[in-house]
């Protein structure tokens, strides 16, 4: 057992670090949940793509560097360490792309991936529906066969950055005779197509980070050259299976890479060094314990990621363990931000305080990517073998 990186991996780390030092914008970009900030983030992603830094783990033919998992984790660590901008294309590259690599045909990949790598197309998730959150199989949107393609109808909601994005992806019922997770199909569709209405929804921070999508006979052609990059992923009526590979990605490694936790912990420890001298004895002991627990949590997450990397590199698969990760990081994230805000005291209330934004974002962690309650059921039933029973 060891935690030693090979020299070539260390060289890669050095190269990424140097590139980021030279290229990360000196001033933070405006929030990507605003029109102005979205455009600025799109330009940043394009800059990254110029030097093949936007999707390092992808094959070279699609704009990547063919990096294995080890280097992907290293890249993420460096990215967060450098304080680089949040990824406006994260839903595409972290959630849709793994699904496409697993289920799309070569023609689709050649058409879609390079545009995603350059953020020419920014993708929005269209998972949730009104009345259908973690119980995704209860969705009601439909796709009906028509001449030369499909017609999508229904309503999707809480779709991150769909207010500004180009394309959407999600599940639609293609077989009305089937229920629950059978008879669903995974579609990509153009958010600017006829029949799509996008209604922005303000989030807790007041920015339109969410949107509601109303779809009325939105045409998705069979002919791949028509209408952007819309189409079906995988087989018709088999969308549930296709979607589940995406779900594990969201809960597991990709969306909440350890890099983010290490960077947040480093900021918290810096804050402690600056502030702890001003605390009185009553505050100091308790706050110190919480700083330590935040550090322990990020170290545990970092190490458990290297364990997962080892498993995957030696041919293993990521299963329900991703649910353990998900509950862990989402709880950790809130506790850590709360600790920082407590160290800041009354000053922390300022709306432009970075910790405050982070806290609001962290609050959503136990809700998205499948609520923590659902994840704990998954752990209990699939990992521990407790009976399913009636819900």
């Amino acid at each position: 057992m060891d935690l030693e990186l090979e020299q070539s991996d260390l060289d890669f780390r050095a190269e990424v670090r140097e590139w980021l030092e030279a290229n990360v914008p000196a001033e933070p970009l405006p929030s990507m949940d605003t029109a102005e900030g979205f455009a600025a983030h799109r330009a940043w992603e394009a800059r990254m793509a110029e030097d093949r830094m936007s999707v390092v783990s992808w094959p070279e033919e699609y704009g990547g560097r063919d990096c294995g998992l080890t280097r992907w984790v290293i890249f993420e660590e460096e990215y967060y360490r450098a304080g680089a901008p949040g990824r406006v294309s994260q839903n595409g590259i972290f959630l849709l792309a793994p699904t496409l690599f697993e289920h799309a045909n070569p023609e689709q990949l050649a058409r879609i991936m390079p545009r995603m790598a350059r953020a020419d197309d920014v993708w929005a998730q269209a998972w949730s529906e009104p009345e259908s959150g973690s119980d995704l199989a209860s969705l009601r949107s439909t796709a009906k066969r028509t001449d030369g393609g499909w017609l999508l109808s229904g309503q999707k909601t809480w779709s991150s950055r769909a207010s500004f994005a180009d394309m959407g992806f999600g599940l639609f019922r293609t077989d009305p005779e089937q229920s629950r997770h059978r008879g669903l199909t995974y579609f990509m569709f153009d958010l600017r197509a006829d029949g799509v209405t996008v209604r922005p929804i303000d989030q807790l921070d007041g920015e339109p980070g969410f949107a509601e999508l109303f779809l009325e006979d939105v045409f998705v052609p069979d002919d791949p050259s028509a209408q952007g990059n819309s189409g079906v992923i995988g087989d018709v009526d088999n969308g549930w299976k296709v979607a589940m590979s995406t779900a594990n990605n969201e809960r597991g490694l990709s969306l909440r890479s350890p890099g983010r936790f290490l960077a947040t912990t480093d900021r918290l420890v810096r804050l402690w060094r600056e502030r702890s001298g001003d605390l009185d004895a009553r505050e100091r002991g308790a706050a110190g314990d919480r700083v330590v627990d935040a550090w322990i949590g990020s170290r545990a997450y970092e190490l458990s990621t290297w364990g997962t990397v080892t498993t995957l590199n030696s041919g293993g698969q990521l299963g329900s363990e991703s649910s353990i990760n998900k509950v862990f990081w989402s709880e950790w994230d809130i506790a850590t931000h709360q600790t920082a805000l407590d160290l800041l005291g009354p000053e922390g209330e300022r709306a432009d305080e970075k910790w405050q934004d982070g806290y609001l974002f962290a609050l959503a962690g136990p809700i998205y990517a499948g609520t923590n309650e659902i994840q704990k059921n998954v752990i209990a039933e699939r990992l521990l073998g407790l009976p399913r029973g009636n819900r």
């Binding site: 057992m1 060891d2 935690l3 030693e4 990186l5 090979e6 991996d9 080890t70 290490l262 480093d266 420890v269 402690w272 060094r273 702890s276 110190g288 314990d289 700083v291 330590v292 627990d293 550090w295 322990i296 949590g297 170290r299 545990a300 997450y301 190490l303 458990s304 290297w306 364990g307 990397v309 080892t310 498993t311 030696s314 363990e321 353990i324 509950v327 862990f328 309650e373 994840q375 704990k376 059921n377 752990i379 209990a380 039933e381 990992l383 521990l384 073998g385 407790l386 009976p387 399913r388 029973g389 009636n390 819900r391």
Partner: protein, 319 residues
């Protein structure tokens, strides 16, 4: 980079696990609780034959020269079965102070952090480690009962000097071994709870169908699975990092806190899932619960170890 146990260690751990499964350890613990240590010491004899107590001793003194990584993998198994007696002191601390446990059980006290020698009733040798690193034969005070009835304690004072050791390294070994045993005990309590929740019915259905029960079990699993990587890293830091004592201190303390917290949670949750039957000595849960509770501060309180981590990360360049 390969952050996983190698096949050889996994095989060794599986063979120890298999032996203990057949040895009826719960019966041995019950007898030990009543003052009859023969069955428990017979288990020790089998562990000794498998080389468990010579694992960390260097080859010159007849040991196997294995690293702390192998040590924690095996100690977790011993914890999982609740092996009574001074496991941590014999396996981890004795070799760290240059007194490999040739005649296990051996016990070690290191006042003020660990002032009480555990397993004083069965130890064939007892050592005292002073804060300045002086190792001496321990003079033991009156035998006292632990909250774990299979654990006998005695206050230790320094007797005849026999050598010296790095006191920080010795404490690290004691803390790391304790963390491993705690993780094993936590796993055992989770496993028992899952089995119980599957078969125990209330209102005509297994209680394991209830979400409240499932979430308690899931929380235990999360705490255990996220603590294990810290345990391995603590072992790696001790094993391969003589030039970075600060990192070893930090990583061992992180393992101690996380494994101790996982055990705390497991005791509470396992008892809640079992209900009143878990509060009786008729059920085996109590054997693991009291053992784990006794180990809470065996090699330092959680506050002490959190303090060590804070000191480490307060200094610049901690990561």
């Amino acid at each position: 980079m390969k952050f996983a146990l190698d096949a050889e260690t996994r095989d060794f751990a599986a063979s120890v696990d298999e032996m203990l499964r057949r040895a009826d350890v719960p019966a041995a613990i019950r007898a030990w609780n009543d003052g009859d240590t023969a069955a428990g010491l017979a288990v020790w004899g089998k562990l000794e034959q498998q080389g468990v107590f010579a694992l960390l001793a260097d080859e010159e003194s007849g040991g196997m020269g294995a690293t702390a990584v192998e040590g924690v993998a095996i100690a977790e198994i011993l914890g999982r079965h609740g092996v009574p007696g001074p496991v941590v002191e014999s396996m981890f601390v004795a070799p760290a102070i240059g007194r490999p446990a040739a005649d296990a059980p051996v016990t070690v006290a290191a006042p003020p952090l660990a002032p009480l020698a555990a397993g004083a009733d069965v130890a064939s040798a007892a050592f005292h480690l002073a804060a300045d690193g002086t190792v001496s034969e321990a003079e033991l005070g009156d035998r006292e009962r632990s909250v774990d009835r299979a654990r006998t304690l005695a206050a230790a004072t320094a007797g005849a000097g026999v050598g010296s050791a790095d006191p920080v390294d010795a404490v690290n070994h004691g803390a790391l071994g304790t963390a491993a045993v705690q993780l094993g005990l936590a796993s055992a309590m989770l496993e028992m709870s899952v089995e119980y929740a599957k078969q125990r019915e209330q209102f005509g259905r297994p209680i394991g169908e209830q979400q409240a029960i499932k979430h308690k079990a899931a929380d235990m699993a999360i705490a255990i699975e996220m603590a294990r990587p810290l345990l391995w890293a603590g072992a790696l830091a001790i094993a391969g990092n003589p030039d970075a004592p600060a990192a070893a201190v930090r990583d061992v303390s992180a393992a101690y806190v996380a494994c101790g917290d996982a055990a705390d949670l497991a005791r509470r949750s396992a008892l809640q899932i079992h209900g009143a039957i878990g509060y009786t000595m008729e059920h085996s849960l109590g054997l693991y619960l009291t053992k784990s509770h006794a180990l809470r501060a065996a090699w330092g309180s959680a506050a002490y170890h959190r303090g060590r981590i804070l000191e480490s990360i307060e200094s610049e360049g901690a990561r």
